[in-house]
């Protein structure tokens, strides 16, 4: 199934609105200007693509998250209006919002930024944050397509927003990847230019758009995700990860590579990105491909988490006119670069039906989307709708109970059964902290050096889950095992390291390592590297319940796609100072989901159904899960999760969080692990894992030992 893109909205360095964006491109302008909003003292790079009416010194005091919200709301409103949705009578709870955003070092967690946008727009469906650094909004568009396929919303606003901050400029400068002048992708000199803004698209099913006679500007035909499993900030030089994301997108769209007529490349202009990306494209499209390829970053700058959606919008605007946007500043080609970089100062007429947008990020998260001109027939109705069974193959955890998952149920004794009432009573086990452990001891061969606690907890949990699943921890990169994690905050230790380096040396000399960890995806990317997992990679955040949201996303990827055999998914929290919760816990829990029944003697467990709905609407998520599982409500014998209300009031509740300590992201994954143990021990046949009322979305997943639906 494909999605119709019926509305587009943008805010970027060329101005507010898609008209300003295309007029800028059409007239050969760029939006790259001297930065005035904040001081660039001590940093040699003084230019960026700044939103023109937000580049005054007097605006320097606006908190970065407020600007991110403002850009997003503007872009969403434009897209909403363009789609003709005002007065269209769409129920607010059937509208989803997916925000891709990168920097996790605002004053508030990213999911609150998304909640704030949803609240201002009156959206009451799922409000989900994707934070995989520079590929965030590309991934967000893809997740939007999945939510429509899942039936979790009728209309999705998906895209990204990001703000240029002094830390972002200093961090990229410290990493040595900025160009002193305007960036020249695939040309000389090397280096990128930062940007900011927001880009959002209205997505709906083609049938839904048709029913309300809405004009479609393009179709979102498919998307793909992958992990480099290589390095924190450097792309894998052969581009194999990028190639996997592109191949995944083509497969999801049911298209062969030769149908693509234009590529909007990530094209940051850095020494490392451009050649690796070009090699990836050669892998997919053939070594001598002459497909026109350009980088919009030369025009608007690198808008980080918003880059993918802004570049997608630029592509769609061009596609509607049968033009391809140009690459500015292309003077001297680099060796072994693209044959046709659309060099010049104006867009070029070009006949094409499909385009590809690709983005790559720190942490090795790659994402690509395939866009089609409206009216192109969906070649395979099976594409994106495979409805495979999803099985549970293994679980692992690192939390207050220790690292032995089988002790989890013992550890939960004071929380079993029927403990309700929110945050529990008494002190959590071990003060809610993960006991000390050696990663190298529990996962021989895994290099533990230089990781922050977040990455260590996650790698331990994911590694133990793979071992529990019989898949083991291998050195050879496994491209068909993916990793999706629910994370709400960046590592407290790395955040403190960053602040300490700034206090000691000043902003221009901040710690590059700590800076690279200021994206939610950092521990997830590091885990994919340490465990050599090259499949789909994502980091999702909904506040409370993020772990279960990741499990739902991973299950859905397995059910409907062909590019993974197994997904590791779960939630992660690292304790932080200043928490309002006295019983704060920390740790990570992961499960391994597979698309084929596990080969083991113990009875199998199946993820029979799942659903996702807006905040406080667990009943809707639960009904969707029941419908997918095709079982009656009465089959549910036990509910795992905290602060569950409005469903199954008479059924026993089990709350691991009461014993382990409160954690917004990991606790729902702990509930999932506990549910698995419950089923393994034969204490129940069918159970529900649900997320609590505090999240920006609600999730429900039914686990059962019955191998067939109905």
């Amino acid at each position: 199934m494909r999605a119709a893109m019926t509305g587009l909205g943008s805010v970027c360095s060329l101005g507010r609105g898609t008209q300003a964006l295309w007029e800028g491109i059409g007239s050969g302008r760029d939006g790259i200007v001297p930065i005035r909003r904040f001081s660039t003292a001590g940093i040699k790079v003084k230019i960026a693509g700044v939103v023109p009416d937000r580049n005054e010194e007097s605006q320097g005091g606006i908190p970065s998250w407020e600007l991110a919200v403002e850009y997003a709301i503007d872009a969403c409103r434009e897209a909403w209006g363009m789609a003709g949705l005002d007065g269209a009578g769409i129920a607010p709870e059937r509208i989803a919002l997916i925000v891709g955003t990168s920097l996790g070092d605002h004053d508030i967690p990213l999911y609150q930024l998304t909640e704030s946008i949803a609240a201002r727009l009156g959206i009451r469906g799922p409000a989900i944050t994707i934070s995989t650094a520079c590929s965030s909004s590309t991934n967000a568009l893809g997740l939007g397509l999945d939510l429509l396929r899942m039936g979790a919303a009728d209309v999705v606003l998906a895209g990204g927003t990001d703000v240029l901050t002094p830390i972002m400029l200093s961090g990229f400068n410290a990493l040595g990847v900025l160009s002193a002048g305007k960036c020249a992708p695939f040309s000389q000199p090397s280096g990128t230019t930062l940007g900011e803004g927001a880009g959002f698209a209205v997505l709906e099913t083609e049938a839904h758009a048709l029913r309300r006679s809405a004009r479609s500007y393009a179709t979102l035909a498919g998307y793909g995700l992958s992990a480099d499993a290589f390095h924190e900030t450097s792309p894998e030089p052969t581009g194999s990860g990028v190639a996997r994301a592109i191949s995944g997108a083509l497969a999801d769209a049911g298209l062969s590579a030769d149908r693509i007529g234009y590529i909007n490349a990530h094209g940051t202009g850095t020494v490392a990105n451009d050649p690796a990306e070009w090699r990836a494209l050669q892998t997919v499209f053939g070594g001598d491909t002459s497909i026109p390829l350009s980088s919009t970053k030369s025009i608007i700058g690198h808008a980080q988490g918003a880059a993918g959606s802004l570049e997608t919008i630029a592509t769609v605007l061009g596609m509607g006119r049968q033009m391809v946007p140009q690459t500015l500043n292309f003077t001297a080609p680099r060796r072994n670069g693209p044959a046709d970089p659309v060099a010049g100062s104006r867009p070029r007429p070009h006949a094409y039906r499909y385009a590809l947008c690709t983005n790559s990020a720190f942490g090795g998260a790659n994402a690509a989307v395939v866009l089609g001109t409206p009216g192109e027939a969906d070649p395979g109705s099976h594409a994106g709708y495979r409805n495979k069974q999803v099985y549970l193959a293994g679980i692992g955890g690192a939390a207050a109970h220790g690292l032995d998952i089988d002790t989890l149920l013992d550890a939960l004794e004071n929380g079993v059964p029927g403990v309700t009432g929110g945050f529990g009573v008494g002190a959590p086990l071990n003060g809610g902290r993960v006991p000390g452990f050696s990663l190298a001891e529990i996962l021989p061969g895994v290099d533990p050096r230089g990781q922050d606690p977040s990455a260590r907890f996650l790698t331990a949990a994911a590694g133990l889950a793979l071992i529990d699943a019989g898949l083991g921890v291998k050195r050879t990169r496994r491209d068909r095992i993916g990793l999706v994690m629910g994370v709400n905050r960046v590592s407290e230790e790395s955040r403190n390291d960053l602040q300490a380096s700034i206090s000691a040396n000043g902003l221009p000399l901040l710690s590059a390592t700590a800076f690279s960890r200021m994206v939610l995806n950092a521990p997830v990317g590091n885990c994919s590297k340490l465990l050599a997992l090259g499949g789909p990679l994502s980091t999702i955040s909904i506040g409370e319940g993020s772990g279960l949201a990741a499990l739902v996303y991973a299950a859905d990827l397995l059910r409907n796609r062909e590019d993974a055999d197994a997904m590791v998914a779960g939630g992660l929290d690292e304790a932080y100072a200043g928490s309002e919760y006295p019983r704060l816990g920390e740790g990570a829990f992961c499960a391994v989901l597979t698309a084929s029944p596990p080969q083991s003697e113990t009875p199998g467990i199946r993820a029979a159904g799942w659903g996702m709905a807006g905040p406080g609407r667990l009943a809707s998520a639960f009904s969707a899960a029941l419908a997918m599982a095709d079982i009656p409500e009465t089959a549910i014998e036990c509910v795992f999760g905290s602060r569950i209300s409005g469903i199954l009031e008479a059924v026993p509740r089990i709350e691991p969080e009461a014993a382990l300590g409160y954690g917004e992201a990991y606790a729902s994954a702990a509930a999932f692990a506990a549910a698995t143990l419950w089923l393994r021990q034969g204490k129940a046949e069918t159970v529900l894992v649900a997320s609590g009322a505090g999240g920006s979305a609600t999730c429900a997943m039914i686990l059962t030992r019955r191998m067939e639906n109905g």
Binding site: P237, A276, R335, N336, G445, T476, A532
Partner: protein, 352 residues
């Protein structure tokens, strides 16, 4: 002049070498990881396609073999220099844990190694085999069509080893020589490679040996761990409690020779493990194993040969060459246009 030409090719163009005295073994089977871990005197953290530089030691902790361990899927490849293939086979067999399900195969029984060294080695090789070599990270390897290409070396320049079946080696060599003519390729022998290793302070198993020299003295602590058990570990731990010498690079305008005694004032403080004349520096370089107190750059020493000649020398900071490969960027540079590119001199002198 031949030696000088060979060194010039390694330092400024590209040179081809055979692989006398080197061997490659494969460890496979369920016990391969345990076997490799047992052999390896440092923590074995490797992902597929990565290699790690280490040593095999004797009981007294003297290096016996200069070794790269390479993670090849779930197998390991062991690239070794020093012992003969049969000696190495014996060493591995003796050290692999009893009952380990490991097959040990001498790959070099039917394979040859070809080495390319030089700032433009990547460029020649990208034309001879595939452009993939340009993206190959240092200490990485990959399998191509009928060959395996490793990126690691001891010349301080871009350095690749090609492992290929003996039947195909002659044809590949011919191809490299033929296409190499456009890159200034010449063949370089051991003497030139040894000199380059010395200039770059790379350990050279052919020369840098002494009963007193363990990884501690040889500045090779990075290749071992004190927290692991392996042959030589105990000797090394004992040595660490009281060690007194360090191998350092010294330079002199006058000739120096392997075996020369090193004096600080009138006191004997060490001896030369190896020495050779560096054409790029226009002086003699030596590897001196000498008392720690004197083993600091800037310190002046005297080298005396048994014949009575003496050379005034000073300790250098290693490496002694500002390798061109640091500055050659495959994205921007090419051998053909090297004349237009600006590179820093091969010998860096800090302004005073």
């Amino acid at each position: 002049m031949t030696l000088e030409n060979e060194v010039r090719a390694i330092r400024q163009a590209v040179a081809l070498s055979g692989a006398q005295g080197r061997s490659v073994f494969r460890l496979s089977g369920a016990g391969a990881n345990a076997a490799a871990d047992k052999l390896c005197p440092r923590e074995l953290f490797l992902r597929d396609g990565q290699m790690l530089h280490t040593l095999l030691l004797n009981e007294r902790a003297n290096p016996l073999a200069d070794v790269y361990l390479c993670a090849d899927g779930e197998d390991y490849l062991l690239l070794s220099e020093g012992p003969t293939a049969s000696e190495l086979h014996g060493l591995i067999r003796d050290r692999v844990p009893a009952g380990a399900k490991t097959e040990i195969t001498d790959v070099t029984a039917d394979h040859d190694l070809l080495s390319l060294n030089g700032p433009y080695a990547w460029e020649l090789l990208s034309e001879v085999i595939s452009p993939e070599v340009i993206g190959l990270p240092y200490l990485g390897f990959y399998h191509g069509d009928g060959f395996t290409c490793f990126r690691a070396g001891k010349s301080g320049e871009f350095s690749f080893d090609l492992l290929l079946p003996k039947a195909k080696a002659a044809a590949m060599r011919g191809r490299i020589v033929e296409m190499g003519s456009a890159f200034g390729l010449i063949e370089a022998g051991d003497e030139a490679l040894d000199l380059c290793a010395l200039e770059n302070f790379f350990f050279n198993i052919r020369h840098d040996t002494d009963p007193e020299a363990t990884p501690l003295e040889l500045q090779l602590q990075w290749r071992i761990s004190y927290r692991k058990e392996y042959v030589g570990a105990e000797a090394l731990r004992q040595r660490r409690k009281h060690w007194s010498k360090r191998a350092v690079l010294i330079a002199s305008p006058d000739p120096m020779h392997k075996g020369d005694k090193v004096f600080g004032g009138n006191t004997g403080i060490g001896s030369l493990l190896y020495a050779a004349r560096s054409p790029d520096r226009g002086e003699w370089l030596g590897l001196a194993l000498m008392e720690l107190d004197h083993a600091h750059p800037g310190v002046l020493v005297e080298c005396a040969s048994p014949g009575g000649a003496s050379a005034r020398a000073r300790v250098l900071s290693a490496p002694a060459i500002n390798n061109r490969s640091l500055y050659v960027d495959p994205q921007r540079h090419a051998y053909a246009t090297r004349g237009e590119d600006k590179f820093p001199p091969l010998v860096m002198v800090l302004p005073k």
